[in-house]
């Protein structure tokens, strides 16, 4: 079974804090993704990575950055958290040559 884990299920941060969300997959997948999910808006792609140290912007990258130093780990960074970044953050991974993405359990982030 594919396993994607995220560092926290729930996180509460203050406005202006730097926030790190970590995602780890154990299936040697080349591709990894960060989404946010908001009521009425669905899943929106923030960033993705198709290889170590490679990254591409998704649909809503503003206010976020990412890091992929190792194949199994993909980090999402909120440089200066704002209240409009309160959301459910989902990480996913996908092996090369297939198209199904496998999701982690999500991190519910609240910025106060």
């Amino acid at each position: 079974d594919v396993k994607v884990t995220q560092s926290s299920r729930y996180l509460v941060k203050r406005t202006g804090e730097k926030v790190f969300l970590e995602c780890v997959q154990d299936m040697d997948h080349e591709n990894m993704f960060w989404y946010r999910q908001d009521p009425g808006l669905g899943l929106r792609l923030i960033y993705f990575s198709y290889d170590v140290k490679m990254k591409e912007k998704g649909d809503i990258p503003e206010g976020y950055s990412v890091s992929r130093e190792k194949k199994e780990r993909f980090s999402l960074i909120l440089e200066s958290a704002s209240t409009n970044q309160t959301s459910m953050y989902l990480c996913a991974s996908r092996p090369q040559g297939t198209y199904e993405q496998y999701f982690g359990p999500g991190t519910r982030l609240t910025v106060t």
């Binding site: 994607v4 591709n31 993704f33 009425g40 808006l41 669905g42 899943l43 792609l45 993705f48 198709y50 591409e56 998704g58 989902l90 996913a92 996908r94 198209y99 199904e100 993405q101 496998y102 999701f103 982690g104 359990p105 999500g106 519910r108």
Partner: protein, 112 residues
């Protein structure tokens, strides 16, 4: 621009009452259509991939079908444990990095 529209937004069924969820899509060329199940507060769980019109996939009480413009997720004799949000996503063959476009989901509630 790729578009995915799911209907209805919410559906309430009695246990044993069969029904269908709809996913209509607009892409320049379909590489794949994906169905996911998402329980409250959790990450989406992969269910099916469909690649070409006429294709069908089944898993327990769920059957997914695909035409050139839409996909249906048929639920036969549902049980309360089938209650979840069902997400549809498409991959456009012209998408350079094989990213997915998601619909907003159908929230299904099955009452005993």
């Amino acid at each position: 621009e790729d578009q995915v529209t799911q209907s209805p937004e919410a559906l309430r069924l009695q246990e044993g009452e069969s029904s269908s969820l709809n996913c209509s899509y607009t892409v320049s060329g379909l590489r794949g259509l994906f169905w996911y199940r998402q329980d409250p507060g959790k990450g989406p769980e992969f269910l099916f991939t469909l690649y070409s019109a006429g294709e069908e996939k089944e898993k327990e009480r769920l059957k997914a079908t695909l035409t050139k413009k839409e996909s249906f997720l048929h639920i036969t004799a549902p049980k309360p444990e089938d209650s979840a949000t069902y997400l549809c996503a498409v991959q456009d063959e012209n998408s350079g990095y094989s990213t997915l476009t998601f619909g907003k989901g159908t929230m299904l509630l099955v009452s005993p």
